[in-house]
Symmetry: C2
């Protein structure tokens, strides 16, 4: 492995050490580190290692409960509502998903929501947890900063509330959709600004509704929802299901996690798990998914298109490559991680 | 009421008589007529009275089972899979939704899927059935004709697979999202062609990927999914959940309902019902929905925007107006209905 790359296990050890030093119990530090590493490995780099610094900042500011009592507030055979007790979102939603899987096995389908949770990384992490059980996972969350006004409005009252759906396949990689309800994620706008590039039309508009293409002016405009008013509607109903239904923050109650390190975010999320075994032979279902995947992939292509991708297939390819070759972290991120390691008094990533 | 308008009850009587004469048992004829009338009343005119002629054509061709034995094929506490026995989709999905509501009351959440169903009208009809029980409804369906290739492809292997979500409110109208996963519906393209108008860029592309704006050339291109590859991903996962999971048609198996009157469509749909009562006080939940609706509606507006609409609010306004003033049917549709009435030997709409 070239010395600019790090094995996933090494990154995970480093993150675990950091979270332990920040005060998380060892088992919880490992859980959060593993999920952040999985995010990095699948190419969700905006939700991977880069989040260590802001998480550390919030933890040190007292904005996270390090020893939360995550508990079931309400329960029925096919549902539960968890109180995350302001713990790390990864811990809350891992527990929520495990509970949903257990309930889905008995009931066929189950839904578990959270309140008083926190940012939990990419939506697909939790939807994908169902795959190991040959189940379908569907995840909804209220994003941790509002970047979207209602359609026709100027006040940013909605987040890019994501949806993820993971469907097991047989020989093919699982189909995994993970999408924000905006045309692009705010992280991609920041990346364009860092690289000094312009954005394409359709990513953002300004306060008059005109296209905004200069990422340096991002503060003067808004992200555009997919399909215009349709994406606004999707962002709203995802927020109703993941936030309002759970008694979690929605609309003006959403705390901007990037700007405020201490106010309890009361983040809401929800996971739906469906057990295909309840519908018939799982092997038959997975064979039908394979057949569909191959049919779509084998479609005649537009001029200049090399390959038709399935949802989640590019992440799958990244996951395979990163597991084989190790993770390539940008120099700026490595510098940041080294500074944090010295500050925390833990071994540098290269020595982890 | 001016003589160009018809009371909803009159339209419903006319449709009931037509379906009875076509051979549906009286109770089933009434159920289908009521749901089609509801579609018309809420402004879903592409799924309302206009569908009588194609339904009649398929029924007469023997493509619908007039006395289906709709039955539960598989069942667990929070799920069921219905075999629609090739009956009218309205009958199948009404039964599916009623079963999901009953199961959600016991389990908190329930999911019911269908196979061997048929076109059932607008997605919101079934999601909205949950509202009368103060529950949330979510509906997914495989559309009845493929108009969408996979992203980058040319073969139309996907339909505009719709999603509907209905969330009860307190004093405000319920929030009801009902959207195809394409930027526009194929019906709107046909309407532009009939009126001799051009389509805006972004509705369709041709086989080279260039914008297609002439609706007369619609056969040479494809509908565009919302958010590009994101909408393609949504259309695919909706199809996996509503079609593939249920053993219903998906991909190349989808029968073009507009061109083929006899092949069994094996349409798949799914309804998810969530009971907010399982999560806490329903009145509190509905008050939170009201608060969010008012906050979004009250946002500062862009120049030239008169009002910020909630998902489903325009349909709600149409429903109120049409119930008060009666339904205004276009002259071409009235001519078609009169011809059909004479052909079937039932009273004309004006005499129904």
């Amino acid at each position: 492995m070239p010395d600019t790359r790090f094995a996933a296990a090494q990154v995970c050890r480093f993150l675990t050490a950091a979270f332990e030093r920040l005060g998380l119990p060892a088992a919880d530090a490992l859980t959060v580190a593993e999920l952040m590493t999985q995010a990095e490995v699948q190419g969700s780099d905006g939700h991977g290692v880069i989040r260590l610094a802001p998480y550390a900042r919030r933890i040190r500011a007292g904005g996270i409960n390090l020893e939360p009592r995550i508990r079931v507030l309400k329960e029925k055979p096919a549902m539960a509502l968890l109180d995350g007790d302001n713990g790390m979102g990864h811990l809350v939603m891992k527990q929520a998903t495990e509970l949903a899987i257990e309930k889905a096995r008995r009931c066929g389908v189950a839904w578990v929501g959270s309140r008083l949770s926190n940012h939990a990384g990419p939506a697909s992490l939790y939807a994908r947890m169902a795959l190991a059980h040959d189940m379908v996972g569907m995840y909804f969350a209220v994003g941790n900063a509002n970047h979207l006004p209602p359609w026709g409005g100027l006040d940013m009252l909605l987040s890019t509330n994501p949806i993820a759906v993971a469907v097991p396949a047989g020989e093919e990689p699982a189909v995994v959709l993970d999408m924000a309800t905006t045309v692009t994620a705010y992280g991609k706008v920041k990346a364009k600004a860092q690289r000094g590039e312009q954005m394409p039309e359709g990513w953002m508009i300004d306060r008059t509704g005109a296209p905004l293409t200069d990422p340096q002016r991002a503060d003067e405009g808004f992200l555009l929802p997919i399909g215009g008013y349709k994406g606004y509607g999707l962002a709203m109903v995802v927020g109703l299901l993941a936030g309002t239904l759970n008694g979690a923050a929605m609309g003006s109650e959403v705390v901007d996690f990037n700007k405020d390190d201490t106010t309890i975010t009361n983040t809401g999320q929800a996971i739906l798990v469906i057990d295909p075994d309840a519908f018939g032979e799982v092997a038959d279902f997975k064979a039908r998914v394979d057949k569909l995947v191959r049919e779509l992939r084998g479609a005649e292509r537009m001029p200049g298109v090399d390959r038709i991708w399935m949802p989640g297939e590019q992440s799958h390819a990244k996951r395979m490559a990163n597991e084989r070759d190790g993770l390539l972290l940008p120099p700026a991120l490595r510098t940041q991680l080294d500074a944090l390691a010295r500050d925390l008094g833990i071994p540098l990533l290269q020595d982890a």
